[in-house]
């Protein structure tokens, strides 16, 4: 209950701070609001609680919007200038291509990571297998047993077959 209250309080603070700021820099807000639609979409469609898709897409999408925002800040920080930017197809191409690269990373890197991780695990399994074989060679098959056999182990030849 307290956590819910804190969350509500945080959102309220955010609205109270960001909304006025967004209104003050409205051309920039419009630029990022339209330019980062792929990120907003990613946020909406990603069911992962960690929200890795908006993070992945958003970073590059932000980079795609950044040159136009600087251009806006350097020349005329007006709604018209912002509209002029959106009239240019290259601006759309840059902003949305950056977002596409983000999506590319989002879909391309995880399988690569999984492949690398499996390979690494398989190598580890191999090492562990060799360790077990070495233990059996040194101590006999009884080393795999659950009890300490007082009477002694098996014939030395049998251990390799078991291992």
């Amino acid at each position: 209950m307290a956590r819910k209250k804190k969350k509500k309080g945080g959102a309220l603070t955010l609205i109270l701070l960001i909304v006025p700021a967004a209104l003050i820099v409205l051309p920039t807000t419009i630029l990022f609001g339209i330019g980062m639609i792929p990120t907003i979409v990613a946020y909406v469609v990603d069911r992962d609680p960690d929200k890795s898709a908006p993070i992945t897409v958003g970073g590059l999408n932000f980079c795609g919007c950044m040159p136009f925002a600087i251009d806006l800040w350097k020349h005329q920080h007006t709604i018209g200038a912002a509209a002029k930017i959106f009239a240019d197809p290259l601006a759309w191409l840059v902003m949305y291509s950056a977002a596409a690269v983000g999506w590319g990373i989002y879909y391309g890197i995880p399988p690569m990571v999984a492949g690398m991780e499996v390979t690494r695990a398989e190598k580890r399994v191999e090492v562990l297998k060799q360790k077990k074989v070495a233990l059996v060679q040194e101590w006999g098959p009884d080393v795999a047993g659950d009890y300490f056999d007082e009477s002694g182990g098996m014939e030395p030849d049998a251990e390799m077959a078991n291992a």
């Binding site: 970073g59 297998k129 101590w139 047993g145 002694g152 251990e159």
Partner: protein, 681 residues
């Protein structure tokens, strides 16, 4: 019955011996296996030509004891030290390698008599010896010889005309033959034994007493005085029957007329009651010229009416007891019906005997082994005839002959069961209890048999009838099938014999069997008896072989027998379970190498230290447990990894996405920085 002077034909075995190399007895005497002397053969073994290697003046001959006869090695040193010309001089004794059976035999080296045997056989006839010759040639020397034997506590047990030899051809003096190649009375014909000893089996007559020797001397004198055996036509059974019914003197002398003086001494020596029989002192007095009043033969009590048994009539307790012993099942029914009790009380009028029989019947149910009938008849026979031998399941033995009877059974490969049951059923104790005359020697006898019964009660290795055999017969060699050819008589010799066997490659059995365990238990008293309990077939092989090695190494350490390389190798070949106690394979190999090295040196103690090192075993155990844990951890980790990589999508969803976000974030940061820098400059 074995006989002296066996002039056997040259058999195949003898022919094989003809070319055999001479064998040496301790580098002192050389025996020629190819040169037998049949005329000097003894009951216990055959005679062979021998040569003294050191003292050339002596002309010896050797008796090689038969494998089935136990010589009296315990008295060899006493007999060897006798300083009396009447006894055949025992020069040396020991074990020799005998080519005939590729094993060892007991060997007795005697001074060779110059003349022949006085009588080749009891069936021979010779000129009756006149009184003075008998006195001079027989009585005088034999009395002095017996006095010396008596002073040393030795019973000769083989006084008979066929065991007297002419010392030399010229003087005509006689010498008494060997008494060590066989147990006392073993080779004695029934004629020359007392009634009681005559009833016993040859091997069960026991050591006896000087009185028994004097009885034999009496019969010997009678035979020589008559020039023949007075009962030559009768078999042993008939001789015994005649002695029992009429008494020894009347039965043997019959109507023959003996010289007066000789008749007196024969009558005195042939008294059946040992207390009434002439002693050495009486003989000494007689030799000195004093004449003693003749002893009247005692007639045993005769019943008013006979007891009919198995179609015969019995008037005396002794003859009835003898018949009972022969027909035990029929006797049991006569005893149980009360017929015997009635006969004893009414016809015999002997209430004391009847009470003894009644006590025998009451106590017959106690004891182990054999049937109730056998136990009953054995006890009743003892009660009926207390001085007779113990008769049980067809065997008859005096209480002091049980040991040799048991030894004889083992030497002949017969079952010792009946003899063992005699002790298990406490028959010697009952025999002692029914004796009318208490003798001090009965006390240790009873104690000994009580202790022996304890061995019989337990059947584990080192105990049982085998242990009883070696406890009762201190000179008995080990009868284990492994070493019997080597006749080891001490633990040290046993170790050497085992090493010899191992050298021949016979390693298919354990080096310690029941006989060897019992032999060591009896001869090596300082050993740990508990170790023997671990030698049974039900014990884990590893513990068994370690126990064997511990016993053998202890004996080697105490006896100082070195160089047992073959025995050590034999043990090493069996030590596989002990090696496998070490879980660490490299250490196992190391221990095997060390064991082989110890075996090569022939040191069993060193070998034991290698395979039964408690510190090394504890260390191995701890390390093995650590290895088990490491194995289990590796196993668990492998399972976990396999489980993880089995779900590839999960990796993509979790770490894959995280990595993508990180990569994207890093790239974005770099790009933002680049863009800012680009627009700033």
């Amino acid at each position: 019955m074995p006989s002296d002077a066996q002039t056997g034909t040259m058999g195949a075995a003898t022919a094989a011996m003809a070319n055999a190399e001479p064998v040496k007895l301790a580098e002192r005497y050389e025996i020629q296996p190819g040169a037998p002397i049949p005329l000097l053969n003894a009951v216990g073994g055959n005679a062979f030509t021998a040569k003294a290697l050191r003292e050339k003046r002596i002309e010896p001959f050797a008796i090689i004891c038969h494998a089935s006869v136990l010589p009296r090695m315990d008295i060899c040193s006493t007999v060897g030290s006798l300083d009396n010309a009447t006894n055949m001089r025992l020069l040396d004794w020991g074990l020799v390698d005998w080519p005939q059976d590729r094993g060892r035999r007991f060997c007795l080296v005697f001074e060779r008599p110059g003349g022949k045997r006085l009588m080749g056989s009891l069936t021979d006839t010779l000129d009756p010896m006149p009184e003075d010759q008998l006195t001079r040639q027989i009585v005088h020397p034999l009395v002095s010889a017996l006095k010396e034997l008596s002073s040393r506590g030795v019973v000769h047990g083989a006084i008979r005309p066929t065991n007297l030899f002419y010392r030399d051809l010229a003087s005509g003096t006689l010498m008494l033959g060997d008494c060590v190649s066989a147990q006392p009375g073993y080779g004695q014909p029934v004629l020359l034994e007392t009634i009681e000893r005559g009833m016993a089996s040859p091997a069960g007559r026991g050591t006896g007493t000087m009185a028994d020797d004097l009885y034999s001397l009496g019969v010997t004198l009678l035979i020589l005085a008559l020039g023949r055996n007075p009962l030559a036509g009768l078999d042993d059974e008939a001789v015994l029957q005649a002695k029992m019914e009429r008494g020894s003197y009347p039965a043997l002398v019959q109507q023959h007329r003996l010289p007066l003086a000789i008749n007196e001494v024969v009558r005195g020596l042939l008294v059946d009651d040992p207390k009434q029989r002439w002693t050495l002192n009486d003989l000494d007095l007689w030799v000195a010229g004093r004449r003693l009043s003749p002893k009247q033969p005692q007639i045993s009590r005769r019943a008013a009416r006979p007891l009919e048994f198995q179609g015969s009539e019995y008037w005396h307790c002794r003859t009835l007891a003898r018949a009972f012993a022969r027909h035990a099942p029929a006797a049991a029914s006569v005893i149980e019906s009360g017929e015997l009790d009635k006969w004893l009380r009414r016809s015999m009028g002997d209430d004391v005997r009847a009470e003894a029989v009644s006590h025998a019947i009451q106590t017959a149910s106690s004891g182990k082994g054999g049937t109730q009938g056998d136990r009953l008849v054995a006890r009743v026979c003892i009660a009926l005839d207390p001085t007779a031998p113990i008769r049980y399941r067809g065997r008859a033995m005096m209480p002091d002959g049980i040991a040799t009877m048991l030894a004889d059974a083992f030497l002949r490969g017969e079952s010792p069961q009946a003899v063992a049951e005699v002790i298990a059923n406490q028959l010697p104790m009952f025999w002692v209890n029914v004796q009318s005359d208490f003798k001090p020697e009965f006390v240790p006898l009873v104690q000994t048999f009580d202790q022996l019964r304890g061995f019989l009660d337990r059947s584990s290795h080192g105990l049982g009838v085998e242990r009883m055999l070696y406890e009762m017969n201190p000179t008995m060699p080990c009868m284990s099938g492994l070493v019997v050819k080597q006749l080891p008589t001490s633990p040290a010799e046993l170790l050497r014999a085992l090493d010899w066997i191992a050298a021949g490659g016979e390693r298919h059995k354990d080096p310690i069997d029941r006989h060897i365990a019992a032999f060591l238990g009896a001869r090596h008293k300082r050993g740990d008896e508990l170790l023997f309990t671990q030698l049974g077939s039900g014990v884990e092989p590893m513990r068994r072989i370690i126990a064997m090695l511990t016993i053998l190494s202890d004996i080697q350490a105490r006896t100082g027998v070195d160089g047992l390389t073959h025995l050590a190798s034999w043990v090493v070949a069996m030590l596989d379970p002990a090696f496998r106690r070490f879980h660490n394979r490299p250490q196992q190999q190391e221990v095997r190498k060390m064991a082989d090295a110890a075996a090569h040196n022939g040191r069993l103690t060193e070998l034991l230290k290698v395979v039964d090192d408690p510190d090394a075993l504890r260390r191995d155990r701890l390390e093995f447990e650590a290895a088990q844990i490491a194995y289990r951890e590796a196993d668990a980790e492998m399972d976990k990894i396999r489980h993880t990589i089995a779900d590839r999508n999960s990796i993509i969803e979790t770490s894959g996405r995280q990595v993508a976000a990180i990569v994207s974030s890093l790239l974005s940061t770099l790009l933002v920085a680049g863009i800012i820098l680009f627009f700033a400059f």
